[in-house]
Assembly symmetry: C2
Homo-oligomer: 120 residues x 2
DNA sequence: CGGTATCCAGTGCGATACTG
DNA sequence: CAGTATCGCACTGGATACCG
């Protein structure tokens, strides 16, 4: 993801491209509402991700203007991540989708198992 | 995508998992607002996708309860795809994200090229 | 018309080890 | 602490050919 950059057929494609990385939703969630987190804190919020991939997705989000990366040239090193204004607007646009997921993920998962769970 | 089904960390993950296929946003868009399309029509709406992948993504959406597949046992064969109620609700939840993409994709694309385009 | 069957390439992601 | 370097695999998506 986030390397297509082709002319998108619709805004939805662009948005999904930006937010489509495996851990990006969780990163955005961890950073929601003006929160600022250091790299290590972010890692602790998302324990399952490897450092390489976490960095990678953060860099993609940064290069998309979604997250801001602030480096403090100290020792020991300190780097803080936060959402840009664009990132906050993205988060806002994402909220309905997140709510949809919260409301329906049970039946989504269930329908996979062959249990219709009287969906829709 | 759409085979993880692990316990999602948040609704956003679930939603992205459902809509994260390369062509799924376009499929949902093509089917928006109660439209019913035959397989061939769908293909014409999205010319770049191969038949295999189109079928595949349609099946995943179907198995997620997003699209309805109606088979008419005639000759020549006829199959119609439409959104379920769940699919329509998903589309509604997706609209803000689509608008966000429409509004910002220029600066997204631009920021990749190294042109800040006074973003955010 | 509406698929399925194969084969294949790209890459996203993960694990591990090492560094300023 | 906050990365970078390397390796490897699984999976997604693409091309083509064939079928009911």
């Amino acid at each position: 993801m986030a390397k297509e950059r082709g002319p998108y057929a619709c805004g939805l494609d662009a948005a999904v491209d930006v937010v489509g990385g495996k851990w990006k939703p969780m990163i955005l969630w961890a950073l929601h509402a003006g929160r600022t987190l250091r790299f290590g804190e972010l890692k602790r919020h998302i324990p399952a991700v490897s450092e390489k991939v976490l960095i990678q997705q953060l860099r993609e989000l940064e290069s998309d203007g979604i997250v801001h990366r602030e480096v403090y040239r100290e020792v020991p090193p300190k780097v803080e991540y936060s959402l840009t204004d664009l990132g906050q607007s993205l988060n806002a646009a994402l909220r309905p989708l997140g709510l949809w997921g919260d409301q329906h993920m049970r039946q989504i998962v269930a329908s996979k198992e062959g249990k219709p769970s009287n969906a829709a």
